[in-house]
């Protein structure tokens, strides 16, 4: 279980859940914590969330499968969300999406072979002024051009390389 969430954090969440009257309100919080730590929420993560909050896995799964930003399947180290809503679409979002698919060599919902990037479409990111926009992790980028996308990906790659080598 420690792979999903450090024991210390589990204890902290359990303590908090025990304090509050409605532990269900923490479902999204705990799922997001697991996701932040583990990258995505496997079945064991749903069970762990249920255990932390003292509720049934079904109740957690109902929530986890509803929200699109809870990943119930493995994703790469960085999730690239490219906006496909109207503002980005009207300013060339589709071309950027095509460019991303070509550059990364993957389709929507897929992860690059090196396990670094997962590409997903998303609804409006609230960056309509900077359309077309995308979000990598929790950072929003825009307005995008093909060159800019390449630069951002390169930057992310470099950062990932740093953290990985740092860990080793």
């Amino acid at each position: 279980m420690s792979e999903l969430l450090p024991q210390q954090q589990i204890d902290k969440l359990k303590a908090h859940a025990a304090e509050i009257e409605h532990p269900h309100e923490m479902i999204v919080d705990v799922l997001r914590e697991i996701q932040a730590h583990h990258g995505w929420v496997p079945d064991a993560g749903v069970v762990l969330t249920a255990e932390i909050l003292g509720i049934t896995p079904v109740e957690v799964e109902e929530i986890a499968t509803f929200y699109d930003k809870i990943f119930r399947q493995p994703v790469g180290k960085r999730v690239v969300h490219i906006c496909d809503s109207i503002c980005c679409w009207s300013t060339g979002g589709e071309e950027i999406a095509d460019h991303l698919q070509q550059t990364l060599g993957i389709g929507f919902g897929e992860t690059t072979a090196d396990g670094l990037f997962t590409l997903l479409p998303t609804c409006c990111l609230g960056a309509c002024g900077d359309a077309p926009a995308m979000m990598i992790g929790l950072t929003t980028y825009g307005p995008l051009t093909a060159t800019k996308v390449d630069e951002i990906l390169a930057k992310e790659r470099a950062e990932l390389a740093k953290t990985t080598s740092g860990k080793d």
């Binding site: 079945d43 749903v46 049934t56 896995p57 079904v58 109740e59 799964e61 109902e62 499968t65 509803f66």
Partner: protein
């Protein structure tokens, strides 16, 4: 009472009725999916559109979401409403597969009915259809997710109404699906209701899968024989095989649903070892010959040894008609020995309850209205599952539930549970009567004090107790408590969970102050030489099987009428094959005194499936249906008594002889049934106090009922076998630690009856210093009959080599 006009017709409906129901009161049926009388309305399907022309609400509205109010003028045939309804159906059908030919819902598919009623016929959407991967949901429920129209009825039935916790709604938008988190058996004891709740074939009955089309089924209204609640059922059979049971609608008892024991416990009717042949002294005989012999030998016995030498023992599954004729037989012989329950405590408890229940009787519908429910000494899931569901509905309406019981009670709702040993139950009941708390321990005093206050404040309190664990003294004290807790504003209602479907009727008919335990003494001493068993098994279904079996060997004559392969049937000198509920008409009186009739569903006989030679039914002609000899017990008894053998005549006879059963003559199987309350012949003085066990070298063992394995008829039903499980014992976690045992350990249980191997289960929610053992037919545990008393036992951990 609001008065409104629907389609130019005026209707007055009770306060709180919605407009859809008001239209139904006028026999205007508007298609709907999410609305269900038991589940209420949520307005998600958007199908029941009506146009509100005048009144407080105007415009096109969903009728199920609008409460009927004075002055409303509503049109159901309005063009806009009709158009919307057909569109909603069209949308609902967007992804529905065209697999009706292979779908088991066929013939009772509400989606099909609503599609036709809604006016949608030609498909305009030609896009691709959504598909889903199905889940494996255990032995009872088959899932076909592709058929789902997302009406949310399943989740509202399974989780909201029935309190199941392992079923959910996943995904969003048009990709919603319903199921379990992971594959596995649906754990709720009410899971079968998914089949009825689903308007189409997403959830179908796996046991009934592909067996028959529902239009080919022989069906008739019936009563569930598996507990004392008397739920209404509609069994269905084909080719001489009983194939399924679905709930009947009785708004006073079960409402719209039934439990899985009632739904899947029907298979005893088809049991391969069911005795179908009459026997006389070990030889096959005709029923007529065996009946003549039975009448003659009983008469001889009376002539030779006096009327005291014959005893008549019915059972809780004996129909009222057969019971009354057995009583008539006993009366004619002059025998004073007539009982309807071989289990001493269940017998005595039933008689005391019936004698004193009176207006305190509480139907399940009334139970749902209670605001405080005290469950003392009863495990509803085992003894009357649908009562647990009624308790849940009360809780959903805001009621409080307090449970005082040694078992780790699993109710489908929240409750306050005081896990105390069975020996404390009488003390608690005494405290409720006397309000004196001296006999309580410090830890018990506060909760009981609080409970007393709650009971005083409650507006519609109800006490529920089980005959098994409380026994005659307990039930008696429970009724005393109800009297003591009455106040000027309201009575306290009482629900007693009795031994079987007709325990109440049997108690009304019992004419002896003695119980079976004392009859066993007489048999042992040779005073009783003949025993007539009517669908009862005194060898095993009594309080002390070992003692009974030793004594019964001395009988000179044993006559048995039965439809199950029990010991009495096997050992009888004269055996007469009777019919189970589904194969005859008759009536039962449930635990609240409600007289309910059932009709015959199928004719007896060995099913075509068994008599066929593989790829087709037999091609030989035969004058007789194989295995069709069994007759209704009342018919055979009427023959013994030289009475006419048809049911109306028998009912007339019974009603004439006993005015309590007046209603029998006009009773039909589809009505809610009248209540019968009457004083009965009470048992003589109370037996000795149940022995108290002192924890020491041996442990006190308490046999209790389980959900599936301890009901004899359910045990004979193959579909329920998966629920019976292995022999198990339950221990409090602390006791388990002291004994060096852990969850799922294998242990050797030693009782005076012998050894057996059991799996250890632990719980923190049960009484300490106690070993609970769920009674399990067909295992070494079958001799451990539940009955509110301790047996000494030893437990040793078994080490797997």
């Amino acid at each position: 009472m609001p008065k409104l006009i629907i389609d130019n017709r005026e209707v007055t409906v009770p306060e709180g009725t919605n407009v859809l129901e008001a239209a139904q009161a006028l026999d205007i049926v508007i298609p709907h999916f999410c609305y269900h009388e038991a589940l209420g309305a949520v307005g998600s399907c958007r199908l029941c559109a009506m146009n509100f022309l005048e009144g407080p609400v105007e415009g096109l509205q969903m009728a199920c979401m609008i409460k009927a109010e004075d002055g409303m003028v509503v049109s159901t045939v309005d063009e806009e409403a009709v158009e919307l309804r057909s569109h909603v159906i069209e949308w609902a059908m967007t992804n529905h597969p065209h697999d009706c030919p292979v779908c088991d819902e066929g013939g009772e598919c509400q989606l099909q009915d609503m599609t036709v009623a809604g006016g949608h016929s030609r498909r305009r959407f030609h896009g691709p259809k959504q598909t889903y991967i199905n889940q494996e949901l255990g032995p009872f429920i088959q899932q076909e997710k592709n058929r789902c129209i997302t009406c949310y009825r399943c989740i509202r039935t399974y989780r909201d109404y029935c309190g199941g916790t392992d079923f959910g709604t996943f995904g969003s938008r048009n990709r919603i699906c319903f199921g379990r988190f992971q594959d596995g058996r649906l754990e709720s004891p009410f899971s079968g209701n998914l089949v009825d709740a689903c308007p189409t074939g997403v959830f179908t009955n796996k046991v009934f899968r592909f067996k028959s089309r529902v239009w080919d089924l022989q069906e008739a209204p019936s009563i569930c024989p598996h507990c004392s609640l008397g739920c209404s059922t509609i069994p269905g059979g084909r080719y001489r095989e009983l194939q399924r049971v679905k709930p009947g609608i009785n708004r006073e008892t079960n409402g719209f649903f039934i439990c899985d024991r009632g739904r899947f416990g029907y298979d005893h009717v088809n049991h391969p070892e069911r005795p179908r042949q009459a026997r006389l002294d070990g030889q096959q005989a005709t029923v007529d010959a065996a009946l003549t012999a039975a009448a003659q030998r009983v008469r001889q016995m009376v002539e030779q040894h006096g009327p005291d030498s014959v005893a008549f023992v019915g059972s809780a599954r004996t129909s009222l008609e057969a019971g009354a004729l057995l009583a008539e037989w006993a009366k004619r012989t002059g025998s004073p020995h007539l009982l309807f329950e071989t289990h001493r405590e269940r017998d005595r408890a039933a008689r005391i309850l019936v004698d004193r229940l009176g207006d305190r009787a509480c139907s399940l519908a009334e139970l749902q209205q209670s605001d405080l429910l005290l469950l003392i000494g009863t495990d509803l899931i085992a003894e009357g599952p649908m009562a647990a569901l009624a308790v849940r509905q009360a809780v959903r309406a805001g009621a409080q539930v307090v449970v005082i019981d040694p078992r780790p009670i699993d109710l489908p709702c929240s409750c306050t549970h005081l896990p105390v040993g069975p020996e404390r139950l009488p003390v608690f009941l005494d405290t409720l009567v006397t309000r004196k708390t001296e006999a309580l321990t410090d830890a018990e005093r506060n909760p009981l004090q609080a409970l007393l206050e709650q009971l005083d404040a409650a507006k519609t309190p109800a006490l529920l107790g089980g005959a098994d664990l409380l026994g005659s003294r307990g039930i008696s004290r429970l009724l005393d408590a109800a009297v003591a807790l009455d106040n000027n504003e309201r009575p306290v209602r009482v629900v007693g969970l009795l031994g079987g479907a007709n325990s109440y009727g049997g108690a009304l008919l019992t004419r002896s102050p003695r119980d079976f335990d004392t009859l066993v003494d007489d048999i042992q001493e040779g005073a009783i030489k003949a025993l007539v068993c009517l669908e009862s098994d005194p060898y095993r279904e009594c309080f002390d099987p070992a003692r009974a079996q030793a004594a019964l060997g001395r009988l000179e004559l044993l006559v048995s009428f039965d439809c199950t392969p029990n010991l009495a049937a096997q050992r009888a000198d004269i055996f007469l094959p009777s019919r189970p509920v589904a194969e005859m008409a008759g009536s039962f009186i449930n635990n609240e005194g409600r007289l309910q009739a059932f009709e015959q569903v199928i004719e007896p006989g060995i099913s075509i499936r068994e008599t066929s030679s593989g790829d087709h039914p037999p091609r030989e002609f035969s004058l007789e249906t194989p295995g069709a000899l069994p007759r209704p017990a009342w018919q055979m008894l009427a023959q013994v008594l030289d009475l006419p053998g048809d049911l109306p005549a028998i009912r007339q006879q019974i009603a004439t002889a006993d005015e309590r059963f007046d209603a029998l003559t006009s009773l039909t199987a589809d009505e809610t049934g009248p209540r019968i309350t009457d004083p009965v012949v009470l048992p003589d003085t109370a037996p000795d106090e149940l022995p108290q066990c002192v924890p020491g070298e041996t442990l006190p063992l308490l046999p209790v009922q389980g959900f599936a394995g301890s009901d004899w008829l359910a045990h004979l039903s193959a579909p329920l076998q998966p629920l019976e499980g292995e022999p198990t014992i339950w221990l409090h976690c602390d006791l388990a630690v002291r004994l060096g045992l852990a969850e799922q350990d294998q242990a050797r249980l030693t009782t005076p009856l012998g050894h057996c191997h059991v799996t250890v289960r632990t719980s923190a929610r049960m009484a300490d210093n106690l070993v609970l053992v769920p009674h399990l037919w067909g295992t070494a545990l079958e001799g451990l009959v539940p009955g509110g008393r301790h047996i000494d036992c030893r437990l040793e951990k078994e080490v797997n080599l």
